[in-house]
Symmetry: C2
Subunit: 740 residues, 2 copies
């Protein structure tokens, strides 16, 4: 027995450093037990019933930007932070905010129909009958009163307009009706406008989140007949935040643009409607039947419209400047008070917002409560924590963008990382962010238990990914991997200004995938709905607190900040392969298609009765030179690898890591482009940006990728150079950290 | 000038044999001009207005098997053949034919609903109001009066039942409701029965061929609310034709099985209904919401049914023996009267059948008319032509199967080829059949003009295929190819007995793809519908006559029969690659899935609220030995190639080709299996068969492929041997023809 014991002990001693290090990146071995202890105590301070109570309290009434309810929520959040022992205050910005004055959508002619534009009360859920709700509308629509022929444009994607073009249909001078989904809503009226439309109606087709998907609320989670998705249609891929103060904080006295000069406000009127209101409009459309895959779930044959179906869209807004209340709470670091770990979730909602945003906010507050309790017990974070509840997120990140722009200098020198959430539900960890944090998130995901199945959230995520992967080779790769895929971030929540404007390392965390429904941005996003369909026992609320709280506490206490640039480098290498493959595919695709055109294949194949036009002759992109870019990516690999050795050595030694840390958290900023992206200087990150035509959807290596997608050969080569330079800048910066 | 002229003349002389041979396989160079002349005269005798008039005449009244209208049509066709100078007669068989006595589908319980089971009159089309229509029903349903819980089974495919199994739902003792489409209708109740269901309702979902697809009749071509697809549900993948006389002709005195012993008659009651009648049934279903891709186009949330929705299905039939009138017309060959070129199309319809079958029959009759005129002018075919209008096709190939079985001996020695059609419409050539005829059909397709675009039908077919192919490599291959892909034949029309029972080389010809609609097997398949939506000017009727007529006349007059076994060999080689790849994929897929199961991945990933079961542990097929099979395929390659040289030499010489021809048209028979396919001895072709679970859909190399698909490892190896033997038999046979 003794011998065996000794044997195992020896083995354990041998493996311990490696095991421990794998388990807790960034910590010296002797500090790991303490951190584990802190996390255990942190967990003990979390309470899921309390998360539920917070959701109930903060979603009790409508609380949109500028509303009385929103101020009440901000003040309640402030009080909570203070009661948790944090140094909290409200920082107010003054932002433009259009609210509807006139809203009407009418079908003219013999089948006259006036859209109700109201969400009916569901008697089983009394929240839906409250006062003070914002009616359904799209913020940043233009004022306008237009009457024109109606044209159905499917989801209003660029590809849909290409199809219309081939069908010989123009939307010039027309009002378009588009389905919600497949792209960010704001790109729909933008693309319509670029094609000459004078108005835009957006509706939720029951095939996407209504009765076709499942039973509707309150029997099921899907969209009932009268529900309407509200939402911003700001052109936020140019810049988010207050349209009048791009790049600067919209303080009371900030210099503002004239409204007419603000590039992000739409040029045409836009109104969202329910599928109840959409039915008479769609039924009235004549002309060609839509392409097969354009049909929705309403019981009519969908037609594109021949221009004879006249619709009047009449919208006017109050263009007020309103206060946006960001609630900012600080807990000063015991050792590095000028290194900030920032954690945020917005507090404003379109209506009650139980899921969006309150479910995420409640987890954030629960973290703050538990951390506050630890601090009172003397367990303070080494770095300063900044917890923020944002206002005006729904109108396109107003509160967060203005705050970041206002505090840019301070953030540039102090912000180590920003951790965002924006609602939460039952399901799988959905994590996105800066890839230098990919290993870091993977580690955390192995330390948090999934509340439903008991395994850790990494194992559950991995099982789900393996099962849903068709390719057996890919599936095997997933099963063999110990890394959780971190998604790249586009936009759509409060991280944008941090990541894409300032280059601050960012994480976005939340659970979901088993909480599907149709309540998003409707007055059905209520507490009753939430406890029935989203996260009935608030277990995933607890899991989010555990996950995000660990991210905060590990970043706060790490001996060496847990960035791993080899992860980032690997992703960049993948993206470079993607864009070079894309260029090749588009080139060969264009060559092949142009040959079909010149051979007359379309004329031969098309149904002569349909008068389908040829697709346009496509630019055949030249072969681009990716050599220098690939060399830059290689050099980053060497530098990252060396840096990882330096980090390992530092952790194993008694050396102080201050200088290393200072450099580490500044590294991602090296990827910022001084001039920003083409046509949108506010977006400066060379690796991540929202897509010009996808909105929320990310485009990685955006300068190069979008130039390729838009067939701008000259810009592609320019942007390859810009990207190469940016990557080399990071390489040099990391090489510098190798000799601290 | 002179020099140039000489130069070109020399080149022309040099190339002429090659060019000519490419243009007209099977003809000695000196006979090609004559054949071209015959074809020109044949074309001149065709008249599209006459085709239209025939369609109008023969679809004027309902004319199903056993009806007065059917006898009228048969007699009218007989008269036409005779008036064209053919030796025609009616050959009558006596076949079992169930017609409905009692039909009722009722929703029981509080939402009581009694299905109308009637197709309403469309006032714009008076044919829909005629007397003598067969009401909507499925022939070969069992008699039965069952009441049971209703379960929605999507399309009723094997994969749908696998999904139900995972959802924990059994259809044992239940009545299932399945959508038409995705599989042959007869497999739906068969699979339901195999899973323990006691009844089956089939309906046409508007998403498949109703208002979701386009405007409904009479505004558009798609299925109106009350339309119902009739059709046979005989288990014809066991054997088609009269269930009481498998393998023999059902002459008056034929020995018949007891009805209860006939394996192809369904064991449970089956009834087709309209989407109007389906709506209340589907709306009444409770329990789980269907998987996302199971939803149809009706305006309800589709549920699977929890057993509480009770339905009564009460069906009874008259099981009469009725006469089936095959109209058989002969034109004796001037040289080889014992070599028959057979051409057929059925004449019976479910109701009026303007498209199915009359549009194809009218083209056939037009060919017979023109050929008759040629014969009267002294231009007789060298081989005997047999033109046949079949009866009882709709009840599962009764007329053709009984005739072929009855004449099997004569056909075995005389039938050179069978050319089938079964309706026709606007669009592209759709050709299927024996691959030794692939080049032959390609040549014809280059000699017939598409009536809409002017180019030949091969060019149009090719352009369409190129455009609809996504893979650029595949697309390039198509653009470079001079061969029209001949599809492999499963079943569903009158060729089955010829091809799959007797091994007679077969072609199936027709145009379509621009004639989509929902009239199939309804009382809306009328002349009015046809001229509005199918082939308004009968141009494609003319094109079919030109195509099929050329096939007949070239086969009839060829010096050497135009079979090219290199084409067949290439296809077989492709199929062998397919099945070996399939075996590998299934093996690896099973291994990967079994690993997911044993690792508990499904338990981890599945939504615990859904109680989704693991998929079953799958048999991991062993590695099969395809070596001998591949060698056999190689030997066939050598033999085919040698044979082609022999043919070329024969055509270039003055040698008589009689012996070569005798062998050539017997070659495909060598691929017949003495014992037939496993479990269905009637089907004897080792290369082509209808799928056991796809019905009409073909399975190539059926013995091997289906054993793999059903994970019967032992049977796979056995069937590889059987197939190898069969291919070697053909090889030996062809080798024999190399030395005529």
């Amino acid at each position: 027995m003794k011998k065996t014991f000794t044997f195992f002990t020896a083995i354990q001693l041998l493996w311990l450093p490696l095991l421990a290090q794998e388990k807790l990146s960034g910590f010296k071995i002797q500090n790991i037990p303490l951190q584990h202890d802190i996390e255990q105590k942190f967990d003990a301070g979390l309470n899921k019933e309390n998360i539920g109570a917070t959701i109930k309290e903060l979603s009790a009434n409508p609380h949109h930007l500028g509303a009385k309810g929103s101020k009440t929520v901000a003040e309640s959040v402030l009080k909570k932070f203070k009661s948790y022992g944090w140094d909290a205050k409200i920082e107010t910005y003054y932002v433009l905010f259009p609210t509807p004055k006139t809203r009407s959508v009418e079908l003219l002619g013999s089948n006259k129909y006036s859209a109700s534009l109201e969400e009916k009360v569901v008697k089983e859920d009394l929240s839906t009958a409250q006062q003070g709700q914002l009616p359904p509308y799209n913020a940043w629509s233009a004022d306008g009163d237009v009457s024109a022929g109606l044209v159905f444009v499917n989801y209003g994607l660029p590809a849909d307009y290409e199809k219309l073009e081939r069908l010989g249909i123009s939307v010039k001078g027309k009002i378009v009706i588009a389905k919600y989904g497949r792209s960010w809503r704001g790109t729909k009226p933008k693309i319509a406008y670029e094609h000459g439309a004078v108005g835009c109606i957006i509706y939720s087709d029951p095939k996407d989140d209504g009765f076709v998907k499942g039973d509707v609320y309150p029997q099921g989670a899907y969209k009932p007949e009268f529900a309407v998705q509200r939402g911003s249609v700001m052109d936020m891929v140019i810049y988010p935040g207050d349209p009048l103060t791009p790049g600067i904080g919209s303080t009371k006295d900030a210099k503002r643009l004239e409204r007419g000069d603000a590039k992000t406000i739409l040029k045409i009127p836009v109104q969202p409607i329910s599928y109840h209101d959409a039915l008479p409009l769609l039924a009235a459309l004549k002309g060609q039947v839509v392409p097969t895959d354009w049909s929705g779930g309403l019981p009519v044959t969908y037609h594109i419209g021949d221009g004879s179906t006249l619709v009047r869209l009449n919208l006017a807004f109050n263009w007020d400047i309103v206060p946006a209340y960001n609630v900012v709470a600080k807990l000063e670091g015991s050792k590095f008070k000028n290194q900030w770990i920032i954690r945020g979730n917005h507090h404003d909602a379109w209506v009650n917002g139980a899921a969006d945003p309150v479910s995420g906010l409640a987890s954030l507050l629960e973290e703050a409560k538990s951390i506050g309790k630890l601090a009172r017990a003397g367990i303070k974070p080494k770095r300063t924590l900044v917890y923020i509840a944002w206002d005006g997120e729904e109108q396109s990140l107003l509160g967060s963008t203005e705050w970041v722009e206002d505090h840019a200098d301070e953030l540039n020198s102090k912000a180590v990382a920003y951790i965002n959430s924006d609602g939460n539900g039952r399901g799988f960890l959905e994590a996105g962010g800066s890839h230098a944090l990919e290993n870091f998130v993977s580690e955390i995901s192995k330390d948090v238990k999934d509340p439903q199945v008991g395994a850790n959230i990494f194992e559950r995520w991995k099982a789900n990914k393996a099962i849903s992967t068709v390719s057996l080779t890919e599936r095997k790769k997933i099963q063999d991997s110990q890394t959780l895929d971190l998604g790249a971030l586009g936009t759509g929540s409060d991280y944008s200004a941090f990541l894409q404007h300032l280059g601050i390392p960012t994480l976005s965390l939340g659970f979901g995938g088993e909480d599907e429904g149709g309540e998003y941005h409707t007055n059905f996003d209520t507490y009753d709905n939430f406890v029935k369909f989203k996260d009935p026992d608030f277990e995933y609320g607890l899991a989010l607190s555990q996950t995000a709280g660990r991210a905060v506490l590990r970043l706060a206490n790490a001996d060496v900040l847990p960035f791993n640039f080899s992860n980032l480098q690997a992703k960049i290498a993948t993206y470079v392969t993607e864009v070079s493959t894309l260029a090749k595919q588009l080139r060969e695709g264009a060559q092949s298609q142009n040959k079909l055109i010149s051979n007359g294949a379309y004329q031969l194949a098309n149904d002569p009765k349909e008068n389908l036009k040829n697709p346009p002759v496509q630019v055949e992109l030249p072969e681009f030179d990716f050599k220098a870019l690939n060399l830059a990516v290689d050099s980053l690999k060497t530098a990252s690898s060396k840096l990882n050795h330096t980090i390992t050595a530092t952790l194993a030694s008694d050396t102080k890591a201050d200088q290393l840390n200072n450099l580490l958290f500044q590294a991602e900023k090296q990827l910022l482009l001084q001039a920003g992206l083409p046509g949108r200087p506010w977006y400066r990150h060379s690796i991540y940006a929202p897509g010009l035509y996808t909105g929320y959807g990310v485009k990685t290596l955006p300068g190069v990728r979008e130039a390729i997608e838009q067939y701008h050969a000259k810009e592609v080569q320019e942007q390859i150079l810009v990207l190469t330079t940016s990557i080399l800048k990071l390489t040099q910066f990391l090489n510098q950290t190798n000799h601290p």
